[in-house]
């Protein structure tokens, strides 16, 4: 445990050093990055034990904060999340070194590295915390650190806007969590997680209220629809290695929170599972549809995180449903799928954001319709992006398929016999089918428009491959996509203890499930290996067939037209148009058309966009109303500091009197 705490301390110290060295960009980068890398490597070494043996390590130190105690522990659930946090942070930090140096003329690089390292350390502390106060403090540090990272380019108005949206969303979520922990603390008489867990069985109404609070509070961080609106704003605004960390890892702290909360709340009723499945379906389908309609690469990726969070929610829903019906196999499979998808999404979404960053680094463009043909200029970025795009679409032989497979198997293993009412898990199956098909459409579009065809602008045609320090993390992540796909049984073994812990299954049951899950995983691994072998054989066959024959190149067939131009290519909007049209009721896309007029028309334009319905029709009117309503309170805020001090004094006196009155009353 002391090794883990050192692993957390080093990045923070290194970050502080980076700030001190702020005037020397290379030195600050070296301090920030090397401390983050060392911290993450030490962390990965330290969690090796809990991951392989399933043993829990814990540490308690006295702490002078009221109700607080510095109580940390690593059990199976924490260990899997720590694996994701340290693994992705390590690669993102290594990638960020070169990426941020591009800004050294305009920006001090000390503070960004401090906040990056604080973000890593706070996320790790968060999943280790076993005390409500410590947890909330780590949660808050995480929110603040990531806010400063999002607003890295704060001279841009839209970045500032994104930052505020994020800050508000984060704190609305925290408000729910404060209530959640306050109620639990009142019931348990302590903020200690062990005492929370000992509360069971809670009164059903109280447990359900706590569950809803946890879903709202943690869901705002994870990005459940309709609490997702900050995500497509904040992720594109942040530097790409930060987007990778936020989207790949930080969202998952919300998932961790819900899973941890489930261990406090005791046996769930069936409707919790149904609620999670409905949330998963809504987030999954709307997330991928909005992603499909975007033209900005990073915005597309951000919306797609909403989709993947939806898939994770489906897995958790199936798991909770299995618990409620007393079906351990369903529960363990559902939670295994959810936890494995946490790992998988961290791998491929981090890779996609790093790839998008590499494109941005090379061309300065995020608009897909100004890119194209980059695979020839950037073979490594393009190749790894293709692997991640296929993986996120949930097709074999890659990792995304494994976790979706486990979730579907969980849902199909439901043997409760009671007509339509017991069919809830089947919703997850059909939902995953629809989501999978739409994801293929979305990622063939993203990869095809950006990397294939011919360059649409000069910037795209002058692109260059990124430096090795940026490519290496991407290659490692791409290899992981294949390794988890082909090594599915091993991956299942890593997540299984965590899943069993949440499902609350006893060790006997877990052992029987281990066999079931690994058998399932072995079969998928077999299919994956079969696909790879068959591809190799057929590629060899093709090579043999073409050897010694005439192979020529010519212009692309365009109905005999001799001079195709890049402008004639299908764009991201035209590619998405049929599906966007089918779902236009949900998406309400806008188009601005300037039609050609007259006999000799010279100009015509078409511009489409799909803004977030929830932001425009839900939150914006709400916050405008709040703004109007609070005008009447403006007399309180006048800018005179001595009066503000008076407010504080009066509040203090009132609180003291109240407290004394309470004492007297008792």
């Amino acid at each position: 445990m002391s090794l883990l705490l050192i692993a957390l301390g080093i990045p923070v110290a290194g970050g502080a050093l980076a700030v001190a060295l702020g005037r020397f960009p290379r030195a600050a980068t070296a301090a920030g990055v090397s401390s983050a890398v060392i911290g993450c490597v030490l962390g990965l070494v330290a969690i090796g034990g809990p991951l392989s043996t399933g043993a829990t390590i814990a540490l308690r130190l006295p702490w002078r904060v009221p109700y607080g105690e510095f109580s940390v522990a690593v059990d199976s659930l924490s260990a899997v999340f720590l694996l994701v946090i340290f693994g992705v942070s390590l690669l993102a930090a290594a990638y960020g070194a070169q990426y941020l140096l591009a800004y050294r003329q305009r920006k001090s690089l000390g503070a960004p590295w401090l906040f990056f390292n604080l973000l890593v350390a706070s996320m790790a502390l968060l999943v280790m915390a076993r005390n409500g106060i410590l947890f909330l403090m780590a949660w808050e540090v995480m929110a603040i650190a990531s806010f400063f990272l999002v607003t890295f380019e704060h001279e841009k108005a839209d970045v500032r806007n994104a930052g505020w949206t994020y800050l508000v969303a984060a704190h609305v979520g925290t408000a729910f969590l404060l209530v959640f922990f306050a109620i639990l603390g009142l019931e348990a008489g302590s903020m200690d997680f062990d005492r929370f867990a000992a509360l069971q069985p809670l009164a059903p109404a109280l447990a359900s209220a706590l569950f809803l609070l946890a879903v709202a509070g943690f869901g705002a961080k994870a990005g459940f629809v309709p609490l997702h609106v900050w995500l497509p704003e904040a992720h594109p605004a942040a530097p790409s290695h930060v987007s990778a960390l936020m989207s790949g890892v930080m969202l998952k702290t919300g998932i961790y929170g819900i899973l941890r909360a489930l261990t406090f709340l005791g046996p769930p009723p069936a409707w919790w599972g149904l609620l999670l499945i409905c949330i998963g379906l809504t987030s999954g389908v709307l997330g991928v549809l909005f992603a499909l309609a975007q033209h900005d690469l990073k915005r597309l990726l951000a919306y797609h995180s909403v989709e993947n969070i939806g898939i994770i929610a489906l897995g958790m829903g199936v798991g909770v449903w299995g618990m409620s019906q007393g079906q351990a196999v369903v529960a363990v499979l559902g939670f295994s799928g959810a936890v494995l998808h946490v790992v998988n999404h961290a791998v491929f979404k981090a890779l996609l954001f790093l790839g998008a960053g590499s494109v941005l680094h090379a061309t300065g463009e995020r608009k897909m319709d100004r890119l194209g043909g980059l695979l020839k200029k950037m073979p490594v970025t393009g190749g790894t992006f293709l692997i991640a795009a296929a993986a996120i679409s949930g097709v074999p032989p890659l990792n995304g398929f494994v976790s979706e497979f486990l979730i579907i198997m969980g849902a199909l293993s439901n043997t409760t016999d009671g007509g339509i009412a017991t069919a809830a898990p089947l919703l997850a199956v059909v939902g995953l089918g629809l989501i999978g098909g739409l994801a293929v459409a979305c990622f063939t579009k993203a990869f095809g428009v950006v990397f294939l065809g011919s360059p649409r602008t000069g910037r795209a045609s002058q692109a260059h491959e990124s430096p090795v320090s940026m490519l290496l993390p991407m290659i490692i992540l791409a290899v992981l996509c294949v390794v988890i796909g082909v090594g599915a049984p091993l991956a299942a073994m890593v997540v299984l203890p965590a899943a069993a812990q949440v499902a609350g299954a006893d060790s006997q049951l877990v052992m029987s499930n281990v066999v079931a899950v690994t058998l399932v995983a072995r079969n998928i691994a077999g299919v994956a290996a079969g696909v790879l072998v068959m591809v190799a054989l057929l590629a060899l066959g093709r090579w043999l067939l073409l050897a010694g024959r005439k192979v020529t190149t010519a212009v692309t067939w365009d109905c005999g037209y001799e001079r195709p131009t890049p402008r004639m290519q299908y764009t991201s909007s035209s590619f998405a148009q049929p599906l966007v049209d089918v779902f236009s009721r949900l998406l309400s896309p806008r188009s601005h058309i300037e039609r050609p007029t007259g006999y000799f028309p010279h100009s015509a334009t078409l511009h489409t966009e799909t803004p977030d319905v929830f932001l425009n029709k839900g939150y914006r009117p709400l916050f405008e109303w709040i703004n109007l309503a609070s005008i009447s309170l403006r007399w309180l805020q006048h800018g005179r500091v001595h009066l503000y001090l008076l407010y504080i004094f009066v509040t203090l006196v009132v609180l003291l009197i109240w407290q004394l009155g309470l004492r007297g009353g008792v």
Partner: protein, 306 residues
């Protein structure tokens, strides 16, 4: 693994192109033409495999990988698909999900290979294919789900194996019919047949699947044609498995019966193609939603009937 399983599986790889020949001959008969020989697809494949290739200068390795990955995935899918009661070479709980996933991988690579040419026609085909497939996928899942509920098995072989004549005679018969109809509609969509797509059209603007592979030539195109034939075989085999739940015990009789069933499916596809026009692209989503609706209805009935 029984020897007859291997034998029937080998049939898939040999006889799949024949289905295309049967469809084309059926259409010719309806149109009052002589039509191409039944074995024309074999001649085409042989011709393509002997040729060199022409590549667009815009393309990269992704374009060349498309046909290879497409054929590889559909071959694995064939190994998972039971031929009637005989069963598949590879069967495990959940292989139906792997089956759907493999089709997804095939589609992914067909689409990116098409986009690699930078042609507006192929981009258009890719875009339409993505739309059609995205809407067909939930219908396929629903259709397979019905079979899971009716048979209680999680593998395609087990599902088809559990369907007997008595299953049809009980109340589950209606459910099975709905499932078969759903899978038939998905088959038409996935295999680019009328009313979703017209494999015979000669205008690039109206094609979907054909336009995506316009720039492929030689062995690459041969791979694509063969993969298309195998994909048609896979879906026909599923439908025959549901509709023809007979097993005599005699290998030759079983094999003959199954083969006749497959040919009948091909003839039905040919009849559909001859007797109706292709739907307007705007109406294709309605057809696929209807397929999904049939599937959902079947699932609901299966849950009630139990």
């Amino acid at each position: 693994m029984r020897p007859e399983t291997l034998l029937f599986q080998a049939c898939a790889f040999v006889l799949a192109p024949l289905l295309l020949g049967v469809i084309n001959r059926t259409k010719a008969v309806f149109a009052g033409r002589m039509g191409a020989p039944l074995l024309q697809p074999y001649h085409d494949l042989w011709k393509l495999l002997r040729k060199g290739a022409v590549y667009s200068s815009t393309t990269t390795w992704v374009f060349r990988a498309g046909p290879v990955v497409g054929l590889a995935t559909v071959i694995i899918a064939v190994l998972l698909t039971p031929v009637g009661k005989v069963g598949a070479v590879v069967a495990f709980p959940g292989d139906l999900i792997a089956f759907a996933g493999l089709l997804g991988l095939m589609r992914f690579f067909t689409i990116v290979a098409a986009m690699d040419t930078g042609s507006s026609f192929e981009g258009m085909g890719a875009s339409r294919e993505a739309m059609i497939a995205a809407l067909a996928e939930p219908a396929l899942f629903l259709g397979l789900l019905v079979l899971v509920l009716v048979s209680g098995s999680l593998s395609l072989t087990g599902m088809v194996g559990a369907i007997g004549i008595d299953t049809w005679l009980r109340t589950t018969g209606a459910v099975l019919a709905l499932a078969a109809a759903t899978i038939f509609l998905v088959m038409l969509a996935e295999n680019a047949r009328i009313p979703v797509d017209d494999p015979n059209t000669h205008l690039e603007l109206t094609m979907v699947h054909e336009v995506m592979v316009l720039d492929h030539s030689g062995p690459d195109f041969g791979y694509i044609m063969y993969a298309a034939a195998l994909k048609l075989w896979v879906f026909s085999a599923l439908i025959v498995g549901i509709l023809l739940p007979v097993r005599t015990g005699n290998i030759l009789a079983d094999g003959g019966l199954l083969l006749v069933g497959m040919l009948v499916v091909a003839i039905v596809v040919g009849v559909v193609e001859s007797s109706m026009a292709r739907l307007r692209m705007l109406h294709v989503p309605h057809l696929l939603t209807a397929a999904g609706g049939l599937g959902a209805l079947a699932v609901a009935l299966a849950l009630v009937v139990g």
